[in-house]
Amino acid sequence: MTMIEAIREAHDVAMTRDERVVVFGEDVGFFGGVFRCTAGLQKKHGRARCFDTPINESGIVGTAIGMAAYGLKPVVEIQFADYVYPAYDQIVSEAARLRHRSNGDFTCPIVVRMPTGGGIFGGQTHSQSPEALFTHVAGLKVVVPSNPADAKGLLLAAIDDPDPVIFLEPKRLYNGPFDGQHDQPIVGWKKHPLGEVPEGDVPVPLGVAARFREGQEVTVLAYGTMVYVAEAAAERAGVDAEIIDLRTLVPLDLETIETSVQKTGRCVILHEATRTSGFGAELMSVVQETCFYHFEAPIIRVTGWDTPYPHAQEWEYFPGPARVAEALRKVMED
């Protein structure tokens, strides 16, 4: 099944088992979302549990917080991650701190879903990866699935979670894995083992990374689309890379990272977002802090550049397999 279908199913399972789950956002109701991730939910669960909202991201998250305070479990969609900023205040100042500031008198179990990342010629307003703007905020959890099975399982876990979860969906993966080799034919999820999604209510726990590929020479830390780019790059460079798919950025599965890096002694970190103060900086820091004496070469970041996400120069911006392969070769030489 596609990642879209998997997300849809996670919603459906959660809404079916728990009356408190409500789903809303722009174009989310009748139409089922511009990426169709909520298609069919309104019809099945009724207009009071899945509905269209006014175009006001602050209002979407703000009302979700109020509903959570009431006792519901809202799952809201921001149409593109690039449009989350109007809701940033409600997320940072309110959702993230409500439990702490009220000492648990009120809590905020909401999920804020949003398509993220580039690779679709979406230009600067349909391509951003703002994860680092959330990982810096205490009180939030941040999740990035990389395949249909995880998308469903992690979304179920996120909906279950008693705290606010930012759920970033790499839109380039909605219909198939994408390794950055944009000139090659598109493959769908049907032919991919991770397109096989367990039926029913099977959550994938937050805070646990996956070893996407075993390897001995270098550890690659990646999430979302970059997992496949790493795989393509490792093959291209002929490097025996161990690829860790982080899945959850906060809380981070440091143990899995440590084990791998201490084994390989080398580390390459990938993300699509702008480099400066990206989540790669945090990864580089924790790896440096925990594995300093194991290093044989400097850690390398391969990321988007510190520019707005361009339209025509998409593939020069996107940290594709060529750049990643070069980093892998370099880290092996150092």
């Binding site: 602050s58 209002g59 703000g62 109020g66 305070a69 519901l72 009220s102 000492n103 648990g104 906060v250």
Partner: protein
Amino acid sequence: MTDDYAPLSLNVPEPEWRPGDVPDFSKFEIPRAGAVSRPPVDVEPDDIRDMAFSIVRVLRKDGEAVGDWAGALTPDELREGLRHMMTLRIFDARMLNAQRQGKTSFYMQHLGEEAVSCAFARALRPGDMNFPTYRQAGLLIAGGYPLVTMMNQIYSNAEDPLHGRQLPIMYSSREHGFFSISGNLGTQFVQSVGWAMASAISGDTRIAAGWIGDGSTAESDFHSAMVFASTYDAPVVLNIVNNQWAISTFQGIARGGVGTFAARGHGFGIASIRVDGNDYLAVHAVAKWAAERARRGHGPTLIEHVTYRAGGHSTSDDPSAYRSATEAAEWPLGDPLDRLKMHLIRIGEWTDERHTQAEAEITQTVIAAQKEAEAIGTLAQGNIPLARDMFEGVYETMPPHLVRQRQEAGY
């Protein structure tokens, strides 16, 4: 095309009086008490458009309660209301002083605005939820929340229910229908709409009340709240407390070219009413009406409470730098405590002696609570929450990185 246009210039509204000026409120239009009639709760918002430009008032200058909106409260209830307002005022005075003595870091008072939250509280039902700003402690006091618990919060002591995490007066009590106060203006207004929507989604009969200051209506979340309340017909009462000032900024900067804040509701088809915020009976009656309207499924109401912030904005503020020193005294809607007291005396249910006695009693109660709280601890004197507590409650379950940090911190 010849350019025969005069140069444009920027209009920057200014208050009528600044320090040194003598305020003259004679142009401030005050409808007679009883002049505004009480519409049915299922009235069409458009049919009461004029109510956003008038002021619902019950208490006449001579203390008589008149008109459609009068008569809802028994003498016992009125005496209780007076007691709540007196408690709030005395509480404020004591805590203001405690802050000045350095016992805690910060305080915000209600001087002149006591009727708004005290009367409103009595118009809701148990289970309803307020989303207050920092100037509605009357909701707690009139709702029976213990004074000593309030003080524990203010002192950030070991019994502070919020464990010292929040700034003084940023109370939270779900049990008392009082949502955790945010320091960020406006955010809670739209949350109240969400809570109300949740009640409607759940087929409940509970309603929500949002609160916002005159200055904060300019915030974007005011708009979010109005849009969502209007679209989903949310069972919510949206309160604007127009106390004429936002720190040093007079209400004209937020209000702009429209006559009143209540009129903001007209752009959304929301029933909008102005009420004399210094008239306990009027606030209570209008609140009851709006709550009934919401609970009967007739949707949201926007209420502008017209009042005056007689004190400083907070303990960090000195209003003499930006407004006339006599403005508060000249404020034409009078003092809410004096007005309710006069009414009770006029109807033979109160006397000056009883008032003096009540004042003494309440002062004693407040002092006793204060002693109790201070015996537990204060920010200055100590016995405050444990340092390790700051790591708790960031998430329901402490994640590994916070456990490591707590250990690193040595707690």
